[in-house]
């Protein structure tokens, strides 16, 4: 059972929400919004490293902006294994939280 830690879960989820791939900066913004806590790039990258090693995320360098001194930023992409891991985790959570009362006030999907 490929279960993710909470932080990993947040990151993968954020990545999914952003359309399966994103720049590091955008990713971080989303993670901060989701978790409502600040996260530093160092921590983020450490976690991404672990995820990359596990095969859930792929990273590649984007083409540099056509400006002199343009930066080549890395793009992180969610892989299929990552998606299945997310699915498994979601199922696990659903199992755990089955009995928990959920408030039914407009939960907007985003």
């Amino acid at each position: 059972m490929s279960v993710l830690t909470v932080k990993e879960e947040i990151i993968l989820s954020a990545l999914w929400m952003l359309g399966r791939s994103a720049y590091g900066g955008i990713l971080r913004d989303k993670v901060v919004k989701l978790s409502k806590k600040d996260i530093v790039y160092g921590t983020l990258y450490n976690l991404l490293e672990i995820l990359i090693r596990k095969g859930y995320v792929k990273s590649r360098k984007d083409t540099p902006t056509p400006v002199q001194g343009g930066k080549a930023m890395t793009i992180y992409t969610l892989t299929d294994e990552g998606i299945s891991a997310l699915k498994a985790t979601k199922e696990l959570h659903e199992n755990i939280w089955k009995e928990w009362p959920v408030p039914d006030l407009g939960v907007s999907k985003k």
């Binding site: 720049y23 590091g24 900066g25 971080r28 913004d29 600040d38 530093v40 790039y41 160092g42 921590t43 990258y45 450490n46 991404l48 490293e49 990359i52 990273s59 360098k61 930066k71 080549a72 930023m73 890395t74």
Partner: protein
Amino acid sequence: MKIYSNKKPPFLAKQLLKYLFRYNERHSIVEDSEYTYVKMLENSGIHKAKLWYWKNVIRSICGYLKLHAYWRFIMFKNYMKITLRNIKRQKVFSFINISGLSVGIACCILMLLWIQDELSFDRFHKNTNELYRVISKIPTSNEIIHNARTPNAIGAALVDQYPEIVNYTRYQGFEGRLLECNGKTNTNDIMAVADKAFFEMFSFELISGDLGSCFENRYCIVITESMGRKYFGNEDPMGKIINIIPGPKIPFTVTGVIKDIPETSHLQFDYIIPFDNTVWWDADLKNWKITMYYTYIQLQKGSITEDVNNKISSIIKDHEKTAIVEVYLQPLKNIHLKSKLAGDFDNFKQGDIKYIYIYCITALCILLIACINFMNLSTARLNRRAKEVGLRKVIGAQKKHLLSQFLGESVFLSLFALILALISVVIILPTFNSLTNKHLTFDFSANLILFALCIGIAIVTGVISGSYPAFFLSKLQPVNALKNFGFKNGLTGIYLRKILVVAQFALSVIFISGTIVVYNQLDFIRNKPLGYDNSNIINTYSYFRGPINNFDVIRKELLEYPNIINISRAKPPNLELFGNTSVQWEGKNQKVTLYPVDVDFSYLETFSMTMKEGRFFSKEYTSDYNNYVVNETAAEVMGLKNPIGTKVRYKPRDETERTGVIIGVIKNFHQNSLHNSIEPMVFYLGNVLGSNSVKIKPDNIPETIAFLEKMWEKHVPNYPFLYSFLKETIDDFYVNDRKTGTIFSYFSLLAIFISCLGLFGLTSFSTEQRKKEIGIRKVLGSSIFDVTLLLSKEFFENVVISIIIAGPAAWYIMSKWLGGYAYRIESGVPAIILACLIATLTAFVSIFLQIIKVAWANPVDSLRTE
């Protein structure tokens, strides 16, 4: 809303991020952080943005380092394991390596201690940087003589005339003065005289008494702590009376006690009295012609020595029109090591900066030899690590990882060697102290610099020694390494090894030849004919300035004793001479320094000297009281072709002027030590007041001494009977040289030891390599002799090259050293040849057994593959 013209994140933080967060290959932290920073600028303002950015930088880097350190630690454990395993597996090589390095590092540490001590002389005074000694520069016909003594009145004049000079003191030391205290008499204490300013200028700490009162009148005496203990036990010495007996007994009151003078001071004394007391023996303190005392001055802070020197150089001429002597200042710090001056007797334990360089270089050479060993042996064993390197590279190690692994290994070995070296230094230190006549302590708590230097030496040694193997190994291609083609049959680095062995050997040869030359020179000095006979002569001392009454009567009594051959009260040949320029003679056309010596009628016979021309003083000629005898050098220097009959006029101090003629030329003999050349001496009959030299028969010496003592007590009742043998006194001049010789020989031993260790290791490796080759050769028909010859050929090649390099180098170094002696052996060539032979022999012995072992081996065993 503020317009942010500069949307760049804080520069310092960005740079830190760029260089310390090493994931940059994969993650673009710098760019991402900048993106967020810009967003924060817009959303929350510049302060929050900057704060966030710094937080980002610091936390990211910390997190990275933590992770990094963790992995580093894991690798470190692995490296340690491998290193220890290697050491255990190759015990012999590791032992050779580590012991060689330990010896080298121990030598360096001992040298450091010694050099530190030597360089710290006279630094403990508060005013060290402003204290100077005044030196006289005396031009003579052939050279300029630098004399550490200056005219008596110069100190006061300097302070008066030049505002930069704020204080002065005169100083003089005396040994063997008689003092009496509480009924005990003694002459062992060293006396000094100085002005009151002495205590202001120098920092000899007063335990009791104070600066103002310690020299308040002429009869004050300040003693050292240990002297106080010697005479007064635990009582307070202040106020007690000590009698000094220069003639009549004079009571001095103790007005101060100073702490014992540290070893690292060139001024050493047991008690000190005010300078005014010198009137006993020297009534003329205003004389500008005679240089007798040392003058120390204190410059104003911030004065430039050069400028002051230029101003004061002609001060003697200002006061004494006929003087030709100039002066200049010698910094206090230079006195111990850089003081090659005449008349510098009160410079205790004087060292020579030459020796510091020599010992420094020597120690470094030994360390170098050890490093060469290390490099050699490691290079030879590269084979064994090839597979490991290949595997590591396959798994993913990079060149820099491998480099750090191997360098770390050699630094580790080096640190281990350091520990052993520290232990050996602690053990050897007492012997070293007795050899160098010091009291060095190996105390890290007081000497942090030493500690840092030790560690530094070890690390540098490790890095240097391990560099070549490390670089080589890290360059290996994994495939080749794993397939065992990494090293072509163990011939890698063979040229480097050759060079290193040759260098090592050459260094050893230089060391040995150095030792041999030093010993030869010492031998030569010891046995060189001095021009007089100093055997069986006893010198006694009387330190009062007054003729012994009825000496003629005493003399007759002494001569009646069968064992006594002759007595002379003249200045014996072991004492140093004082030169001056006031001797006048017919035809003198330039100022020349001559050395007048006062003698008596029996001088020539007592010391068995010989005349070259003319005759010596004799009682038959009453005019001889005004006549002179010169030595050969004097005749030359005075420019006299026929010296006999030349009129000479001279006024010795405290005596009448005498005008007479030269009646004879005495054959040159060596006054004082062979370090000095023969000075031009002018002899005259004076009121000889110095020591007695008694020439005795070599038999029954104890009896003779007992008789002399009895006679002494009878005629000179207040003074203890002190005597010494002239030959021993003269031998003592060369104590330092002998010590140098001993130290050098130890160094040579060490150098040869390490070199042989190295050779041993290398040979065992190469013979092991060639086992199969030898086996095949034997099978094909070589005899044992042929094989031995083959194996030795390489060795002899190295030897020959080493000798070619070492020979000229050794000769050059030796000539430089010998140049410091006025009288020396011809050349070092025989010594160098001998050294080469010795080195070759020892080296050969160390490898001989191995060669023989391999040559004798049964080819079956060698060729068998398991």
